[in-house]
């Protein structure tokens, strides 16, 4: 009997030692000090160089005794939202300044999670930013966040291919489809796809579908709060998107495509058109890019008998948690990060577009990216997603329905009808 117990102990004991050592290693407490620590939640930024650490250090240099800890968020907008919702509800979330997708600001403001910044700001302080970004930061006449990064949907196209076949960038989707057919017929390259966009079931899909709805004269939310006020046109827009996949204009994997998957395929030279955000522009011009010098941008197409094309705006805002223990410092940090020098550094280092309009004509930035002035015009013309506290509730409800219509498991009309039925139940519970 003792022998069996002894046999147990040997491998166990050696593992026990390793494990105790490891446990001791991680239990070593941090030194206590008088330093104030601010926690900044943000999504890791990629690009030539992540400018954020330097910006955080410069804030620390200007505020002795303050330490800023940057903590990374999950990488999709939906996961980030879920993270915030789970953790902001209730007390002591443990972070001070938060990077927010602009669509969340009204929701978070209504929920009471954000500090009202109105009194902290000078009256004209937000004037240099895009009006749509300021509108997205405002709820109930108060300002709840600072505009930080601007986004707008764009159509990227292979200027070399279009020129080769004597084509001008398309103004309508019908033209785009036609150009895809002609170019692919002439190129005889089976690996060349036509039009890439984001059809995976996530927030990006809602953006893409909204752009299609708007081009077709349909809306997601009317002023009076009703959903899909033009159901037939909405269904028609969905059917058109589904048609792109069915006819092979867009590859079958569009239904799994997010920004990066589609950006990479286009960047490898495998497609003629791409819908994406401005961040991709710089990535196509890197030294090892297969499409360097061959890509141009234009605003998104419209529909032949519909509205003019318009890209959805998006972007990130900076909010201050209402539970922050150092609200004054946290507001100062948010202002520091949204300041002109900081936005310039981010635009230079990470190719993310600023919300301050003057920067689009700034000589240094225009030298780095000659498309900046045009980008300004696109962003000004862009259309925001519905600004409502219930945006995420609406978006998360329509996502699976849109996805079902795109992959073809549900007729577009039924997808719209189902989405309306669900939304009327959920929104009914709130009102």
């Amino acid at each position: 009997m003792r022998a069996s117990a002894g046999r147990v102990s040997r491998p166990l004991r050696s593992l026990l030692v390793v494990w105790l050592l490891a446990l001791g290693g991680c239990a070593g407490g941090q030194p206590e000090s008088e330093v104030v620590t601010l926690v900044f939640k943000y999504a890791r930024i990629l690009g030539r160089a992540d400018p954020l650490p330097a910006l955080l250090r410069s804030f620390e240099a200007a505020h002795p005794g303050v330490r800023v800890k940057g903590e990374a968020l999950p990488w999709t907008s939906d996961d980030q939202h879920q993270f915030y919702v789970i953790n902001l509800e209730g007390r002591s979330p443990g972070f001070d300044v938060m990077m927010l997708d602009c669509i969340w600001v009204p929701e978070f403001a209504r929920a009471g999670w954000l500090t009202d910044l109105t009194t902290h700001l000078r009256p004209d302080e937000l004037a240099p930013h895009f009006p749509s970004a300021v509108a997205a930061a405002t709820y109930g006449g108060r300002v709840w966040a600072l505009p930080w990064i601007m986004n707008v949907g764009l159509l990227y196209y292979r200027a070399d291919l279009l020129a080769k076949h004597g084509l001008r960038p398309p103004e309508t989707y019908e033209e785009l489809v036609d150009q895809v057919r002609r170019i692919r017929l002439a190129e005889r390259d089976p690996a060349l796809d036509g039009y890439l966009w984001q059809g995976k079931q996530y927030e990006g899909l809602v953006v893409n579908v909204l752009e299609a709805l708007w081009a077709n004269g349909a809306r997601l939310l009317a002023e009076d709060g009703s959903v899909f006020p033009e159901p037939a046109r909405a269904a028609d827009a969905l059917r058109f998107l589904r048609g792109l996949i069915e006819t092979g204009v867009s590859p079958a994997w569009t239904t799994a495509a997010d920004e990066e998957l589609s950006r990479r395929a286009f960047g490898d030279g495998h497609a003629i058109f791409l819908r994406n955000w401005p961040y991709a522009m710089e990535l196509f011009e890197t030294a090892d890019s297969a499409v360097r010098g061959k890509v141009a941008v234009v605003s998104l197409p419209g529909r032949a008998r519909g509205e003019r094309g318009v890209g959805s705006t998006g972007g990130a805002h900076l909010g201050v948690s209402r539970r922050s223990r150092h609200p004054e410092l946290a507001v100062a940090l948010a202002r520091h990060l949204a300041s002109e020098p900081a936005q310039r550094a981010i635009a230079l280092g990470a190719a993310l577009s600023p919300t301050r309009q003057a920067l689009y004509h700034d000589p240094e930035l225009v030298r780095a990216n000659p498309e900046m002035p045009r980008l300004h015009a696109f962003a000004l013309a862009g259309r925001p997603r519905p600004v409502t506290p219930y945006y995420l509730l609406i978006s998360s409800t329509v996502q699976p329905e849109f996805s079902a219509a795109l992959v073809g498991v549900k007729p577009p009309e039924r997808a719209i009808a189902d989405a309306r039925a669900r939304l009327s139940y959920f929104l009914g519970a709130i009102r």
Partner: protein, 279 residues
């Protein structure tokens, strides 16, 4: 009695009490973000009865459970017989199997997400020109998730069967040999009947696990595309925490709970019936 007190206390506080609370929550409209908190009666359940997304999730759960458990049993049994027939290297063989089982399901999901990568995934590279859109195609996504789950949990079935095989007395086989039974006859007349009970137990454990599966599809597909891989648990979690609809989400949780309990009860009946027949 004193010995049991901590157990009873812990289970009462962390299992029974929340179990009752969730029932109460499911009868409310409860959305803390928007300060909604009022009694809803059976509204949430009534809505679920006509909710296409709920029916779809039920379908996905059923297919996932049946397909993965069936595959696990067949493959697990085969693996167990193969290892049992080995003369050397059994420990190593078991290690390969256990490796897949012991890792977190999230790791499995990440492993397969990389294997299923549309252009750089090992599976599509192997398929060459016939490469498939594993996680984006509504017809393939659920099989892809089932495959990942089978990979991770088949070893559990294999190990149970293997252990039972070791316990079959050698005399039985010797007797069969004396009787001149062939390999196939030995398998169907001795080995499989001896494994019957353990297989039933394995199926019970795996079915209960599969019915509440969450990690693998949540990380691998998030329930997409088009909700084809959205099981009841994933749907419930989304409702609960994507927008904090605690009332509606709790109603879904209760449904999952009842489903699991019903299946567990049915199996236990079956097991008990099996025992009395054997005795």
């Amino acid at each position: 009695m004193l010995l049991l007190a901590p157990t009873v206390l812990a289970l009462a506080a962390l299992t029974v009490y929340p179990g009752v609370w969730v029932l109460w929550l499911s009868l409310q409209h409860r959305i803390p973000i928007f300060d909604v908190s009022r009694f809803a009666g059976l509204d949430n359940y009534a809505f679920l009865a006509g909710d296409p997304r709920f029916l779809n999730a039920g379908r996905a759960t059923a297919i996932f459970t049946v397909a993965s458990v069936a595959l696990e049993v067949v493959l697990g049994l085969t693996a167990a017989l193969a290892i049992h027939a080995q003369r050397g290297g059994r420990r190593l063989a078991l290690s390969f199997l256990l490796l897949a089982w012991a890792m977190p399901a999230v790791v499995t999901a990440k492993l397969f997400e990389w294997l299923y990568h549309p252009t750089a995934g090992l599976i599509n590279v192997a398929l060459g020109a016939r490469s498939l859109n594993w996680l984006g195609d509504p017809g393939l996504a659920l099989p892809a998730v089932v495959l990942a789950d089978v990979w991770r949990t088949m070893p559990f079935v294999a190990i149970l069967c293997y252990a039972r095989l070791l316990a079959i007395p050698a005399e039985l086989y010797e007797a069969a040999q004396v009787d001149g039974a062939g390999r196939l006859a030995t398998l169907t007349r001795i080995t499989l009947p001896m494994l019957g009970r353990i297989l039933l137990v394995a199926v019970l454990f795996r079915t209960l696990d599969a019915l509440r599966a969450f990690d693998i599809m949540f990380v691998l597909t998030g329930g997409g595309p088009a909700g084809m891989t959205e099981t009841l648990t994933v749907y419930a979690y989304r409702a609960l925490f994507q927008t904090l609809q605690l009332g509606f989400g709790s109603a879904l949780s209760v449904v999952v709970f009842l489903l699991v309990m019903a299946v567990a009860w049915a199996y236990l009946k079956l097991l008990r019936a099996g025992t009395t027949v054997a005795a």
